[in-house]
Point group: C2
Chain length 502, copies 2
């Protein structure tokens, strides 16, 4: 799914030191790889008739006052009003880096709880994604246009749109609760903190708001991925950890790439080890993130607890089998669970417009340092900010602002800060999800709550309920709905008191 | 003083309907009038050696990422470190629309309490004021440059500067408390709400954060001015209320302006009634705002409780005396308390660059609707947004965003919103100050406190203590220091707990 995928792509930026393509951050090729992938996906999963599409005339630049900054663009948003009546709550998904239809399709939780709250559902698309292109197809053409793509402008978009929407619905007194997953969860939490007069609360699922500066250990993400595999089987973890060296050694041999092409059943002969590396890397990381307790089709169709399944495959080989053959078989579960693929397209065409929104955000404000420790199942790597910044300068002509997010939104000593300010936020995380390590995992106050599930994965709580959901997942969703219900009751009580006192 | 004066100038924008100059908002001529006035003043009151001047390389645009938005300008700030040691509190004045030296000179409260807290004092100049001109002397030349003058950019300036300052002082753990008066008080309160991770609390003195949209009745400001005079003497109020018609009638007569020139002892013969109107209007409004309990030299040298003194003059005339002669004599107290003026310069040269920062802010985000009710001592007037917007369009080529401030910072149902979010803010107001009506006058929570004094005027609490201060003023300042002390104690206790738990 777009949010974590592109959050994920970011990681590779910091692995330039181990990826052969040293000259620039390694996430650009992967970006296009990801795009072709999600493009395929999103076609497959357009939402049903549950939402009506609208377009809001949005202001380009909320924070300067110039004729050009007052330019209007059309921001897409989706509405479901089948359960709503005037004055009832409004549940808003703060869209992140992708088509809003895609998020609506993968956030069934809101549809599941809407009847109970008689809630209006609104999914707002993030500027510069999906159809919400401020400069049409030229939006990605230059730094002049991309400059308006950032999280503060996006939050202001939500504020302006919601105020106008409530006015047009003659429902100013409706309480708004914001929901978001991954980067969308960061936006939901930040929106509640910056715009408490517009949102009475936020459910931020798998939102790594602490993945910046030195707040979270840089190696935590890949250590967490590795832990998932280690928990499934120590042998599995060791095979994957050892496979990279085997790959390097083989590719260094004469005819090595030919043999690799055969082993990996590539549709075309390989030109470099890079693509194999990326292909395996993505399979292991994505699978850890979507290590869901039920069969799901998210990034790819996968069985329940896919990490365990991958490790079963790896452990099931005869003792003499090569690590390469094992990791190929394991990765095939990710790429070919439906068994539709005769061969694998490891080397992709470069992305048509050569740019990707999240890469831009990663090169400006979303600077999340990451490393691979020697304990991880990936080759050790450090974080070279200088190399990263040079890559950004070269690619976009901008220099990152690595400390801006923590200056604008905070994060350091977050418990100390938010216990004296803010309120009504749920941070939900599943420990299977490597992003959980960069989120809030402990209660901060009586109304800033951390809900942590040992077996949960990347915003699993936002997926539609299924008959196979385990009890811990049902309980998690029940708790979330209960807390949100409390916020809404408090809001109406405060409102009544305010009217009585007036 | 700059903050309230220019807040004040704004009012006239909404009086186009009663001022003869109907063609454009009437505050532009007054702006230049104000400028010549404060220019005179600020020279007189440059601060002593208490502060050392510094310049911070500040980023032009925090909210877009473009080569030009990364342009650096030098933001002036003042430091007093004589009482400070590393780790001790940092008290910051969030500068408003004027020279920062001017605010430092008129905010002796911080110097008075610094020793008790061993606090570092920092006064930060607001972009586009004083010496902090992003484009040097061209800063006011066009909408392209002025576009970067607004409150959100100013708040981000404070955040970036303070983070850097704490880092350079190796004192990241020092608690920061922000202080501000008038517009600076709005900035202090908003800074605490938007940047709680940087400021642990805010003292917002005479901050009319509710003077927007329809939150505060539009007539409240001039009704409050009138109440000050009515409380001093009903006759005084009635004389002033009746004087405007007398002025109109006289100016309509042949030789009327000549007679007015004589009556008002003007240095040059008058060309229109406008200037007399403005001259009186300013005297009555400014005097109400600075109706201090002690002799003070703020806008102008004035005796203690100057409103009462003005009314004594008006009431002291023989029964037959004209209203015009009485209001002239009263206004002379404001303009000539020191008795230095042989004649009065009522008609001023137009301001050299013809623009003024606050007028720009009033024409973009700081849209504060105001009217004069029939109960006020001023001629009744409505609020014509269309006329105001046309004036702004004509003058600057921008269209105001009248609902932006309440979208970005809130204000509606503020008690309901802030009791569930935010904390550690003091709103202090004196009821003599007409701006008090647009501020927070009731406690919102246990840590968002309203301190209201019946006899207080525009941020009187920020002035240096004097031997003549009445008990209620001493008590107000004592309470403020006590509450701030509590925030600081809580902060250090939280910090210790955080370290112990880590």
């Amino acid at each position: 799914m777009a949010p974590f995928t592109s959050l994920l792509l970011l990681l590779f930026a910091f692995l330039g030191t181990v990826t052969p393509a040293k000259s620039m951050p390694a996430f650009f090729p992967r970006a296009s790889y990801y795009q072709s992938l999600t493009a395929k996906q999103s076609k497959a999963t357009k939402p049903k008739v549950a939402y009506k599409t609208h377009y809001f005339p949005q202001i380009l630049d909320h924070f300067t006052f110039q004729p050009k900054s007052s330019k209007i663009f059309y921001q897409k948003y989706l509405i479901n009003s089948q359960y709503w009546h005037r004055g009832a709550p409004i549940f808003v998904y703060t869209g992140n880096e992708g088509d809003i239809d895609w998020f609506a399709a993968n956030t069934g939780f809101l549809l599941d709880i809407a009847p109970k709250f008689r809630a209006l559902l609104v999914f707002i698309e993030h500027r510069f994604y999906g159809e919400s292109m401020p400069f049409g197809k030229d939006s990605y053409n230059s730094v002049e246009t991309l400059g308006y793509l950032n999280s503060q402008q996006a939050l202001a978009d939500f504020a302006v749109l919601l105020r106008s929407l409530k006015h047009n619905l003659s429902s100013e007194a409706s309480p708004v609760v914001v929901f978001g997953g991954s980067y969308g969860g960061m936006l939901a939490a930040w929106f509640r903190l910056k715009y408490p007069h517009i949102a009475i609360g936020a459910l931020a699922s798998s939102a790594p708001i602490l993945q910046f500066d030195d707040i979270t250990p840089w190696s935590s993400f890949y250590d967490a991925v590795s832990q998932d595999y280690k928990d499934a089987s120590l042998n599995c973890y060791e095979v994957i950890k050892g496979s990279w060296a085997e790959l390097e050694a083989l590719s260094a041999q004469k005819e090595g790439l030919v043999e690799l092409s055969r082993t990996f059943r590539t549709c075309k002969n390989l030109h470099s080890l890079d693509s194999v590396w990326d292909w395996l890397w993505s399979a292991f990381v994505y699978t850890a993130m979507v290590n869901y307790p039920t069969e799901a089709n998210f990034m790819m169709p996968l069985p329940a607890y896919p990490v365990k399944e991958m490790c079963k495959i790896i452990d099931g080989f005869p003792p003499r089998a090569s690590k390469i053959s094992r990791v190929f078989a394991a990765a095939s579960l990710y790429y070919n669970y439906s068994r539709g693929e005769k061969c694998f397209q490891l080397e992709n065409e470069p992305d048509s417009h050569g740019l990707h929104g999240w890469n831009w955000q990663a090169c400006t404000e979303m600077v999340m340092p990451m490393t691979c420790s020697i304990e991880s199942m990936f080759p050790p790597s450090g974080y070279d900010y200088k190399e990263f910044a040079e890559g950004c300068k070269k690619k976009y002509g901008v220099t990152p602002r690595p400390h801006w997010i923590t200056t604008e939104f905070g994060g350091k000593r977050i418990d100390q800060v938010l216990k004296r300010s803010g309120g009504n936020i749920i941070f939900s995380n599943g420990m299977q999800d490597p992003w959980s390590r960069g989120s809030v995992l402990k209660n901060i106050s009586s109304s800033i709550i951390a809900l942590v599930t040992k077996k949960g994965a990347h915003h699993v709580d936002f997926r539609s309920a299924t008959k196979d959901d385990p009890d811990w997942l049902k309980e998690l969703r029940r708790q979330e709905a209960e807390i949100i219900g409390r916020w809404i009751d408090e809001y109406y009580a405060d409102l009544k008191q305010g009217i009585d006192n007036a």
